[in-house]
């Protein structure tokens, strides 16, 4: 039995390793196809007011050397690969004296702390509501379904804007932007933590609400499907208690929802990044926006790589858990 799991685990691991290599390649190549010379853009910013052309030329060459954009593509790739392996993503073009690793280090935890709890909470609440709607039917279902349907089709940034206008601008319950008060310096004081919690609420709930809608709809249809299945009718004839049947039904309905979570994490992350931008939350989404505006390809490439790795990792964890939950996987692997 354990051998079956090991095989499953190794198989998944192999796949994720391969996907990672592919994503890494795409990440390196695509932004470098961009027309225009980003180094020239930086130099023109630094050299403003310099009338000495040979000085500008010297700065240009120095930066080209620094970022390695004068070497052929393959050589750049191996330099990049070597550096990335050491956690060195080079310098950021748009925030020059800072390194990309530094910029990312200061924003990644905000994103992780915001998105993963939001997606998981949304998933849990959504599934509970969906299962209740399928089981209780009637009024609860009639009210919940259209709301979920509407909410799940609403773009995350739209929900973020509405939350911000209602709770931030009009009711003034929560601040409208940033991850903490603009007058504070990050530290472990009570004042700062309180400010972080207050700033957390709006982005968090706008992501949660969107996730709830989609999950509730999925869980409701899966549960209705299972509730009408033959084994349920058979169990009823056998006189098995309703409570016990419901337990089986929701367990079975849950399995596709777990896969659903794994597969929708990619999409959810995209939506959540844009929600961060709406609230100027100091996470990867806002960093990405600044990178795009500053034509900063080392930063864009690093941010997208990190996001991909995070999505891959989350998927991997879910797939491994799934191997333990779903008995059918055990069965197929031991053949």
């Amino acid at each position: 039995m354990l051998k079956g799991y090991l095989k499953y685990f190794l198989n998944k691991l192999g796949w994720f390793a391969l996907t990672f290599v592919f994503a890494f390649l795409l990440n390196f190549i695509l932004p470098r196809l961009m027309p225009g010379d980003p180094v020239a853009a930086i130099v023109s910013r630094f050299a403003q007011g310099m009338s000495n052309t040979s000085g500008v030329q010297a700065i240009y060459e120095q930066y080209t050397e620094l970022f390695g954009t004068n070497k052929p593509m393959t050589e750049q790739f191996f330099i990049y690969l070597k550096n990335v392996a050491r956690g060195d993503f080079g310098f950021s073009f748009s925030q020059y004296p800072r390194t990309v690793a530094d910029v990312i280090k200061s924003s990644i935890w905000w994103t992780i702390a915001l998105q993963f709890p939001a997606i998981i909470v949304g998933w849990l609440i959504g599934n509970t509501l969906g299962a209740l709607a399928a089981y209780l039917k009637g009024g609860f279902d009639k009210v919940l379904m259209p709301i979920s349907l509407f909410v799940s089709n609403f773009p995350t940034f739209g929900m973020a804007v509405i939350f911000m206008v209602v709770f931030g601008v009009n009711l003034k319950w929560f601040p409208t932007s940033g991850g903490y008060g603009f007058d504070l310096i990050p530290n472990f004081s009570w004042n700062f933590i309180q400010s972080v919690i207050v700033h957390y609420q709006l982005p968090f709930w706008s992501i949660v609400v969107i996730a709830i809608g989609g999950q509730a709809i999925g869980m409701r249809s899966m549960s209705i499907y299972e509730l009408n299945a033959d084994y349920v009718k058979y169990s009823r004839f056998m006189g098995i208690k309703d409570r016990k049947i419901v337990g089986y039904v929701f367990r079975n309905a849950m399995l596709p929802q777990v896969t659903g979570l794994a597969l929708s994490i990619g999409t959810m992350v995209g939506g959540a990044l844009v929600a961060e931008i709406v609230f100027s939350y100091p996470g990867l989404g806002t960093t990405l926006l600044r990178a795009v505006l500053g034509q900063d390809y080392p930063l864009i490439s690093a941010v997208t790589l990190i996001i991909t790795v995070m999505a891959l990792f989350a998927n991997f964890i879910i797939e491994i858990l799934y191997g333990f939950i779903d008995p059918r996987i055990k069965a197929t692997q031991s053949d």
Binding site: F157, I224, V269, G270
Partner: protein, 416 residues
């Protein structure tokens, strides 16, 4: 076919979704025929004019004036001019002058003004009041008095011969013009945006472009997904292995990340609405491919397919006649979802600043982007972003309603 259509149109959800969607399409088609302004022409000098009817002041002056004696005209005029801040200030002064706070009601304009004129004295020294505040009260008093005075306002013009002002007319407080007789009136039902463009005209045009983006992206994604799914599912073997390999690679990479990378690589100048649509199409076929493949695999060994094979039909013939009809309902539903997610993807990209270039056509995402950059949501200029959000929500909601309705017909197990 006719039977299926009848069934589909009997589903309440589908019909609701279909009606909303058709209404949007009709507006998008007919609005530009009635109002032929260019959607990106800048008409307003300044940002975010609120929705309303704009009447030319200059033309009103030269229109025929009618005298109407209305009792509440003065009160209305003052109510309109006296903002909440002034009312609070008046209350402060009155309280300082010794009127009990319970007798002052800032919402009752008439009573407030009476109290003000009987009690206000510019010579009176209120302890603790700054000079600026004292001057403010003097100004307020003058403004209120001039509003209440029955004197007419004079209309002057510079005489080009001697550069002197000459009075060419007067406007009494009882003068009215008939709006129908004023030459220039512009109705801006949704005001103007940050560039001074008519939001409604822009919105209709943006909806059209966004729908086109959705359709192009949906068609491309569905075609790629369908082709790959059919090939992988029907031919199987090595072809299946390769296609499944590619699908598995793309399925865990967040599509939004790919979109960002590709649109960034294309560069701002090359990014037209059509290019963005193609890029979205090329990054969102994965789901269709996977689902079509698994459905085709379950169909592949059915009797009617085997019979067709034995009869010597070509692969193309079998796929078109024996496989496609069975998965068509699914493909159409997937197509509808692709359209709505394409529209959302464009909006997300535009907010990141990676949408279509901003100079030739508006899209829903770009309108949203402009509204966010100019902080319409913080300034309370709801007309710049709310209609855009409502439009996006209506489009995606109507499409998903159609989808849910169709789903319930084609999967009887899901029926309530």
């Amino acid at each position: 076919m006719k039977h299926i259509l009848q069934q589909v149109f009997r589903s309440g959800k589908f019909v609701t979704g279909f009606s909303i969607f058709m209404a949007i399409i009709l507006i998008v088609v007919f609005y530009p025929m009635i109002i032929t302004d260019a959607p990106l022409s800048i008409i307003g000098q300044g940002t975010f004019f609120p929705p309303g009817i704009y009447v030319s002041v200059y033309d009103s002056l030269s229109s025929t004036t009618y005298i109407l004696n209305l009792d509440d005209a003065t009160t209305k005029r003052i109510t309109n001019k006296l903002n909440d801040e002034d009312r609070v200030s008046i209350k402060e002064w009155l309280v300082a002058a010794g009127i009990p706070e319970s007798e002052i009601d800032t919402t009752d304009t008439q009573k407030l003004l009476d109290q003000w004129f009987t009690n206000y004295d510019s010579q009176k020294n209120v302890p603790g009041m700054t000079n600026a505040k004292r001057n403010y009260y003097v100004r307020l008093n003058t403004a209120l008095k001039s509003l209440l005075s029955p004197e007419a306002a004079a209309v002057m013009q510079v005489n080009p011969l001697n550069n002197e002002l000459e009075q060419i007319g007067t406007i009494n407080q009882t003068d009215y013009v008939n709006v129908g007789e004023v030459a220039n009136i512009r109705i801006l039902p949704l005001g103007t945006d940050n560039f001074g463009r008519d939001v409604l005209t822009e919105l209709v045009s943006a909806t059209r472009v966004s729908l086109q983006i959705g359709f192009v992206a949906g068609i491309i994604a569905t075609l790629i997904g369908l082709t790959l799914g059919l090939l992988a599912g029907y031919i199987g073997g090595f072809v299946d292995d390769i296609i499944t390999f590619i699908t598995n690679l793309f399925i865990v990479i967040p599509p939004f990340v790919l979109l960002i990378l590709i649109s960034f690589s294309i560069g701002q100048e090359q990014r037209g609405a059509f290019t963005i649509a193609v890029v979205i199409g090329f990054t969102s076929w994965v789901w269709t491919a996977r689902a079509v493949r698994s459905q085709v695999i379950s169909l592949r060994n059915r009797d009617h397919v085997n019979l067709s094979k034995l009869s010597g039909h070509s692969i193309v013939h079998i796929i078109l006649n024996d496989i496609l009809p069975y998965i068509l309902s699914y493909v159409i539903m997937a197509f509808i979802l692709q359209i709505s997610s394409g529209i959302l993807a464009e909006a997300g990209l535009s907010i990141l600043g990676l949408g279509p270039r901003t100079t030739d056509v508006p899209t829903l995402g770009l309108m949203m982007n402009w509204a966010m950059i100019y902080q319409a949501h913080i300034l309370g200029n709801w007309w710049a972003y709310m209609p855009v959000l409502v439009t996006i929500a209506l489009i995606t909601f109507s499409m998903n309603l159609m989808n849910t309705g169709m789903d319930q017909i084609f999967n009887p197990a899901l029926r309530d």
